[in-house]
């Protein structure tokens, strides 16, 4: 019974896993052009497991932007995981080591899709979905770096447009009330306003502040 719920999570993210695999593939293809070698790319996907941060780090290294800016940009892009991990903290149980391990399966997609209609999060959906995404992400990276040039330029396939579409599709399922709509609009406006003014990542964490309109409501 419990395993079927992990499976439910995997089933729920399956369509996204296809996109994640393709995205990881393109990270694997592009990494060597930024000086990231095969093993480095695979280790990065296995430990960081967050697309936008990895692409940011790779592109900064690729243009000779330096270690510090690559680290700062990637870490800023992943800073959203601090509030995200707090939001799902209650569902992780067991020893600290187990919570630490399982929490690594938190990514935007597994997190958003494990939110139930009552607003709570489901650990089995998150872990089951996250595991499938993790396998696709690391596997896609490995295939990408090893198959390399044979795969061509991924941006010609419009892959970069798959992700805003994906997040929009998930967002639609998350907005049931006026307050949720207000948080979404406010978050989008904050991100848009900061895009021209702040380094990548900052607009996203600043947009997280939109959720404060839910303060002292319940």
């Amino acid at each position: 019974m419990s395993s079927s719920q992990y499976r439910d999570g995997a089933r729920k993210v399956a369509p996204i896993a296809v996109a994640a695999f393709a995205f990881a593939l393109s990270f694997g293809v592009l990494a060597p052009t930024s000086g990231i070698e095969t093993l480095e790319a695979i280790v990065m996907s296995a430990t960081t497991f967050a697309g936008s941060a990895q692409f940011a780090a790779a592109s900064i290294l690729g243009v000779g932007g330096g270690v510090v800016s690559a680290i700062v940009a990637a870490t800023l892009l992943n800073a959203r995981y601090a509030p995200i991990s707090v939001s799902v903290a209650p569902i992780f149980v067991g020893s600290p080591a187990r919570r630490l391990l399982e929490s690594q399966l938190i990514v935007d997609e597994s997190w958003a899709l494990s939110k139930r209609p009552d607003g709570r999060y489901d650990r089995r959906l998150l872990v089951g979905g996250g595991l499938l995404l993790y396998v696709c992400w690391v596997g896609g990276t490995a295939v990408g770096v090893l198959a390399g040039d044979a795969l061509g330029d991924p941006s010609e396939l419009g892959l970069d447009a798959a992700f805003p579409a994906l997040f929009l599709a998930i967002l639609v399922t998350q907005v049931h009330s006026r307050l949720e709509l207000a948080a979404a609009v406010l978050g989008g406006v904050i991100a848009l306003a900061l895009l021209p003014a702040a380094p990548a990542g900052v607009p996203i964490i600043a947009a997280a502040a939109a959720c404060l309109i839910g303060w002292r409501r319940s």
């Binding site: 996204i16 903290a89 600290p96 967002l171 947009a207």
Partner: protein, 110 residues
């Protein structure tokens, strides 16, 4: 030249290690420090709105984000196709595929 190459490769490992460690810490901060305990009452309303706020920000930054600028390009055609697919109540994979296909088509034609 080979020294330079060596220096770059070492730099990559530093980035991989530091970004990896930072991400592990960011993802685990909630579960490790607060794991298993219910969130304080006044925070639940805030946390419930985190998903819509962050997802909207991700849509915006992924659709028109550039290097500290707003970039309007073929991705917008993809987002438009996604909106149409969503209005037609298409399944997730179709929405994503429509966005990629529309963007690829615009890039091909321009």
């Amino acid at each position: 030249m080979s020294h330079r190459l060596e220096a770059i490769l070492n730099e990559v490992w530093i980035v991989v290690a530091v970004v990896g460690a930072a991400t592990v810490a960011l993802k685990s901060v909630g579960p490790v420090l607060l794991g298993g305990k219910p969130l304080p009452e006044h925070l639940t309303g805030v946390v419930a709105l985190l998903a819509p706020a962050l997802l909207a920000a991700l849509v915006v930054t992924q659709a028109v984000g550039g290097d500290e600028e707003i970039v309007l390009d073929a991705r917008l055609a993809g987002l438009g196709a996604a909106v149409v697919a969503l209005l037609l109540r298409a399944p997730l994979l179709v929405v994503v595929a429509a966005a990629a296909a529309a963007t690829a088509l615009v890039r091909l034609l321009t």
